[in-house]
Symmetry: C2
Subunit: 442 residues, 2 copies
């Protein structure tokens, strides 16, 4: 009987995660979860599908185009979420009485965007957000930075820099210079500083209506301030010429750098960078970006900031907050580039070779014993030539193979093959567990 | 400026997970992950969206109606996955050369079904599947049972029964009775035995074309066999009258019960139930259902079985396999009903009360010290009356509050309030960590 097969394929812009990638991603999300929880952030989840009206919010045409949007069976206009922020705003407004404030949550979940697929960018990816809402206290801003620090450290990077800024420094300066109304254009120009250089930015600034060369020069001088955080903050303070809004930002940053040091974070992990202005409109206070010192070009691996009001589309209750988002896929790419990703595709360390059908219960029992001591152990499921089973173990990346046939069972011994070293030892049954534990702890 | 708010609401049949539920679900999935991994199952992931053609497969109209299906921006006919089995079949066919066989995977991910919402059933839910494919060895069947056993035990249930059957016992009997062609109708009737009783099943059986009363009585006698697995298997063997297909099932089950006992599973956790026939067409060999002894009515919390060919829609390479699926939402409902769900909505044990602005760095530093010892600790983010902060701690379910103002800092001491006991102790700073560790280990 012949029949036609359906071609097995994923949609354009989507991909499967094979074991190697899926294991690495699970490890990262497990670390993120643990760090978030250690600070008292609680998990939440929201549906993948929402009313399109809710997801569209204020967003214009572009957002619309990136949404997977359709009519459901009940003729509702629905769409798949394209970020976790708008669903969180909806969630906070809807459950405000239950959750109370302050409220700290994390949310690790996939989002979908019908963007043009690019190298390394997919139409489905995991977001990994944490936020503290319902307070404008600077303590929450400081803690956000500590969380970012612990996240990147726990993932295994020692050399990274969290760049911090406060939106009100520049806003205050623009007020002082009477340029408050040009702020969007100024921000857009400054954002290009690393890419197009100071001369081009100066040209772009002076081409804005109502911006004189002298004002543009001051703005650029501000954006190029450098030095220790306290030095820069002192210089900013004098540039601000008493502007209240700007000085509030200066004071919050001073408190942040002091507290972060008191809390035990090394100075070189945190920098003040008055030029960063991420999320042109969204963030209103502190801003964070995180760069790996060895791979700065991949961009920020954890970004966030403070906002005045999370959920003003859905409730009249103001919900100020602060949070950030860990760039999981970017970090995975970085780890791959730095050779930090394992090539193993099994979570188990030990493969028990299946040799003698009549001892299948014994193989399974030994595996259970090892598991009960925390050693993940797989039993090869059928009798095949030893060479084939060892090839399987090699390909998957098991560290050890355990071999016993009728002779070994009669003698109460096991052959322990170290697959990375290539050597093999005869181990008495009662020594197997301590031997493996010692080898695995090295 | 007045503006109209968007009503914050979820779609019909969908729900948010607030922290209590999300924490419980995270704990269950963490356990499932750990158990799966301990057996050498690797994680995989597949996209939420697939070509409709792939998801529809052989499925008829009903499947279609339950799918969230639409045209994407590229006019592709796409749909959200409604289970993890068909995507796994597509995945296995597509990546066969990379993954090799045998291949053991788990997949924990949401699926979507546009079903009529019912109490406790939602249009979005998590599936939690594990499978071994590429081998028809009985070892994989036995291991599947061991995984189910470890899952339910590790989740915290001591009293449960894994009911096992093998599809070929009944098929063999039907062959012996010359009823092979009536098997679908016979299975359907037997499946109703617990609900409608033996007399009604007998009536239904004899109403099938070509089924005589004597044959129906034998089928029913078979389905009602009870006793120890070896007793029942002996009785089945004699009923089978030498039928080869049936005897193969008997032998596989004998090996399974022997090996499971050798591997150290208590006899009372495993039962032979020749009446179960889950998944009328899909399973071809061993079948598993798992019931909580204290809540049998909620149905099976972990079900699965062996199938001849996973991916015949997508590849001509035969991929026999065996696996099961943990019913997460059902287990959560069971845990709630048995009072096993915590009412806490924070993953942290300790709340540091925020008392004295000038010591904010010290609060943050103390919190970091506790975290580095594995004690999840939240710092209340702003100065508010002590009573308000303790109310917050109570509502969230923190176990301890730590209080220090300028006087305590001067004396190097902390007030430790046990929120479950209601008492409060003065603890010297250097005693805080060991005291907390001792209290938390109780």
């Amino acid at each position: 009987m012949s029949k036609s097969l359906i071609k097995p394929q994923t949609l354009k812009g989507f991909r499967d995660s094979l074991p190697g990638l899926a294991m690495a991603r699970e490890e990262l999300t497990a670390i993120a979860r643990e760090v978030y929880r250690s600070y008292g952030f609680s998990p939440i989840d929201t549906p993948a599908l929402e009313y399109s009206e809710i997801l569209l919010g204020k967003g214009g045409d572009e957002t619309d185009k990136q949404m997977f949007r359709f009519q459901d069976q009940g003729d509702r206009d629905v769409a798949m979420r394209f970020d976790l922020t708008i669903p969180f705003a909806r969630f906070a407004a809807q459950h405000l009485n239950d959750i109370g404030t302050p409220f700290k949550r994390y949310h690790i979940a996939p989002v979908w965007r019908a963007e043009k697929p690019q190298r390394g960018r997919y139409r489905e990816f995991i977001q990994c957000d944490f936020d503290t809402i319902g307070t404008d206290s600077n303590i929450a801003d400081i803690e956000t930075l500590l969380v970012i620090h612990d996240l990147i450290t726990r993932i295994g990077f020692e050399r990274f820099t969290i760049r911090v800024n406060h939106r009100q420094l520049l806003n205050g300066l623009l007020e002082t210079l009477n340029l408050a109304e040009q702020s969007t254009g100024v921000l857009r120009a400054l954002d290009k500083l690393p890419k197009i250089g100071r001369d081009n930015v100066l040209t772009e600034l002076t081409s804005l209506p109502g911006v004189e060369e002298q004002q543009a020069a001051k703005v650029l001088a501000f954006a190029e301030l450098s030095g220790s955080p306290s030095d820069v903050l002192n210089q900013v303070e004098s540039l601000l010429n008493g502007n209240e809004r700007g000085l509030e930002g200066v004071n919050r940053l001073r408190q942040l750098f002091d507290a972060v040091r008191t809390a035990g974070v090394a100075d070189e992990r945190v920098a003040l960078d008055v030029s960063i202005a991420r999320g042109l409109d969204y963030y209103t206070g502190t801003i964070y970006e995180t760069f790996l010192d060895d791979l700065p070009d991949i961009g920020s691996v954890c970004s966030g900031g403070r906002y005045d009001n999370l959920a003003d589309l859905f409730t009249s209750q103001p919900l100020p907050g602060v949070g950030a988002s860990l760039g999981l896929d970017r970090l995975l790419a970085a780890m791959e580039e730095l050779g930090r990703l394992d090539s193993t595709s099994t979570p188990a360390s030990v493969l028990i070779v299946f040799f003698d059908e009549s001892h299948s219960g014994d193989y399974l029992r030994m595996a259970r014993q090892l598991r009960s001591e925390g050693i993940a152990t797989e039993v090869y499921p059928q009798s095949r030539p030893l060479k084939k089973q060892l090839q399987y173990a090699d390909r998957k990346g098991f560290r050890f193979a355990l071999i016993a046939g009728s002779q070994e069972f009669a003698q109460g011994e096991w052959q322990l093959k170290d697959l990375s070293q290539g050597n093999q030892h005869q181990i008495p049954g009662d020594q197997l567990l301590p031997t493996l534990q010692e080898l695995l702890s090295n």
